[in-house]
Amino acid sequence: MSSSNDSIANSLDVLPALRASGINKSFGPIAVLHDIDFEVYPGEIHALLGENGAGKSTLVKILAGFEQPTSGSLAFNGAPTVWDSMRDAEENGIVLIHQELNLAGLLSVEENIFLGREIKKGLFVDHTTMRKKSRTLLDQLECRASVTARVDDLSVADQQMIEIAKATSRNANVLFLDEPTAVLTPHETKSLFKLLRRLKSEGVAIVFISHKLDEIEQIADRITVLRDGKHIDTVPAHSVTKDDMARLMVGRDLTEYFPHIPVPDKNADIVLSVQGVATDTGIVDAGFDLRRAEVLGFAGLQGAGRTALMEALIGLDPITTGTIQQNGTTVKFKTPGDAKTARIAYLTKDRKGKGLLLGNDLVHNFSLFALEKFTRFFINRKAEKAAFDAAAKQFDLRAASPKMLAGSLSGGNQQKLLLAKVLEINPDIIILDEPTRGIDVGAKSQIYGFIADLVSQGRSVIVLSSELSEIIGLSSRVAVMHEGRITGVLEGDQITEEEIMRFATGLGASTDAGKNNTTTATTVEEIS
């Protein structure tokens, strides 16, 4: 494939801010990057595309000095460089936002943003200035988190915004963002893009990784595609369509995106009926029914309480009032174990903090939730391994060895492992919180396929997602939450972005198309 690699360079007539040539990287015997050439120019947003495990994160870590290449060289503003350490790179204005959150949970927002770069007044740190600056940085991102809040007390999305604010406070020359939007809502993504465009205009070189192809379409100037650790192509963004991108990544054409999931009929059994649930975590009077063999979507703005509701339902947080009925009988899940016994599985959206034991191997992680299944008196390691192998195949888990640590998997493969883990108990009701977070386009339709399979087996699925297209594409009904309440349940034709957003913002149904119309339009505009 020919590429137009040098066109931007020629037209801009500047040196690349950072250039990598002939980069190879191996972890022990496993080679993950092969002879990669890559460059990013000042004032450019360069998207990095590739399947899960293609080597995107590894490449940007090398470029930012967090990993050393096995061979190959780097040039910074034209001059050959070796980053001895990330500190070395950071001092030259190279900043990386990691794929996984890296915040000190016990410290405050402001402390995290300025960690290692404290502003001082004489000997002492200047709290006032740092707080003010943090506020400004967060305001630019339209993030409302308090600068004195403890990071642990914030939502994942807010935490991601803190990461971004932290990176921008570093006055980067080269900014790497490794899937920053995976946990962001469209609204937040929009704020981020505003910021990125501003930085770009200021001459910052930006490398952006995402599996959301429409985002790439919106923001990227050039696109580099990796596949199996190899450089496939670098093209100007305007020259390719989303389908082209997907084809470059996967190496074949991608067909049907969302599978057809039949809508259960109105009289289908109700497997889960939730009424008047309230919690200390902010849920007020939440009620909904889940039918057999349906996908019930949950939509809402960040912080609407979807996660909080589900975590309470499965017994992670106490429910203060309300009842839950499963298959017609009233149930009470005091612990997640109770919910598991009732064959309800929950997939957390925080895979690093709550999903996987990063320091343990893949099999151990895989079997943790369904361990009883492999245990009579002792753990049957053979059965465990066999089940893992089957799941790895089913979920297309790309791992060098089952003995490798979960923390060394690529982000998307971690997500697949997590899915495999929760589905291993063979649940009746499956609650998936951001199931495709960090999953590549190819694998995404695979996962949608699994969901369709589950439903065809008569199981019921709840999907929480900040990607409206995902919710709309999968669900037969959509519950929308706003400030801890379920403000509406949409069915059939009602399931549109506009309608969902009306409920998500607390405006109610659009039957009365009168005075609220303008507001709605703005909100939707802002969010999509």
Partner: protein, 321 residues
């Protein structure tokens, strides 16, 4: 050449000490001395097996030494009382042993409950119970020594001094406990759960593991191990006092860490713990077999060897990787 330093560390230290001992004294390798070492290791070893669970689960138990003294004291008082009620000495001993076991598990449960339900750091809870048990045994003994009635003792003696095919009884129990501990930690769901809770409590909770229960059981295993160690300890000298078991907690924890278990939790190695307990006993034994080193410096030698043994696996191991 790749050596698994993690596993080899304690074994190398053990080997080095064996060589050193042989060089220092010809009798070192004698059956008698080896038997002594093994028998002696059993106390700390058995306690350390329990500590492997507690530490793997991310907690720590500082109370084991005092708990042992307290259990020993109660067992002795209980048996002395029973002895006046019945002539069946084996029954007295059996009842005493059972009482010890129950008390140990109860004490462990208490530590566990305070840690989990009370949400107090295990370090503080067990620092507190350490003081409490130490005080109680002093109080029970009226500041002195509680001694087992000699009649009961002669029935009970074989539990320490007896042997099967030449292998002392305490060693057999130690070995059995080690095998049991190994199997539970590595081949049962509970063992996985313990290590998962230690590695990341959130993940464990989200994996439907009842983390409080897992931790409480770990403390109860520790309590049961302390009780078992005490059960073979009591017939040895037939007495308990306020100085019984002083600093055993530090020895047990040291044995566990020397053995390769991570203090921060998430990873436990029973085999290593056994090696760690042997190493600690060996150091003491070797120091007793020589007068090359001033008595005053025993503690320093111990300190250096402990640091060196852990360095062998952590420092070097890490660098290799």
């Amino acid at each position: 050449m790749i050596i698994n330093w993690k596993a080899a560390g304690p074994l190398i230290a053990l080997g080095a000490l064996l060589v050193l001992g042989t060089l220092i004294n010809g009798n070192f390798l004698s059956t008698g001395n080896m038997t002594n070492i093994l028998t002696r290791s059993s106390f700390i070893g058995i306690i350390a097996i329990g500590a492997t669970f507690v530490i793997s689960s991310g907690s720590i138990d500082l109370s084991v030494g005092s708990m042992a003294a307290f259990i020993a004291g109660v067992m002795i008082m209980f048996m002395n009382t029973l002895k006046d009620l019945t002539d069946l000495m084996w029954l007295v001993v059996l009842a005493g042993v059972l009482a010890g076991a129950v008390l140990g598990m109860f004490a462990g449960w208490l530590n566990g409950i305070l840690t989990t339900r009370g949400k107090i750091e295990a370090f503080i809870v067990t620092l507190g119970t350490m003081g409490i048990y130490r005080s109680l045994v002093t109080y029970l003994a009226d500041g002195g020594t509680l001694s087992l009635n000699s009649q009961v003792r002669s029935m009970y003696r074989p539990v320490y001094y007896g042997d099967i095919l030449g292998i002392p009884f305490p060693v057999i129990i130690f070995a059995a406990m080690a095998v049991l501990g190994y199997v539970v930690l590595n081949h049962t769901a509970y063992g996985r759960h313990v290590q998962s809770v230690g590695a990341n409590e959130h993940v464990a909770r989200y994996s439907a593991i009842s983390t409080d229960r897992v931790k409480i059981i770990a403390f109860m295993i520790q309590g049961a191990c302390v009780a078992m160690a005490t059960i073979i300890y009591v017939p040895r000298l037939g007495s308990a006092s306020s100085s019984t078991g002083v600093l055993w907690e530090l020895e047990a924890i040291a044995a566990v860490i020397i053995g390769g278990t991570l203090l921060k939790g998430g990873y436990g190695r029973i085999g290593g713990t056994v090696a760690g307990a042997l190493i600690l006993t060996l150091i003491g034994n070797i120091l007793n077999l020589t007068d090359a080193i001033s008595n005053y410096l025993n503690g320093a030698v111990q300190g250096v060897i402990i640091i060196a043994a852990v360095f062998l696996q952590r420092g070097i191991g890490k660098k290799q990787k």
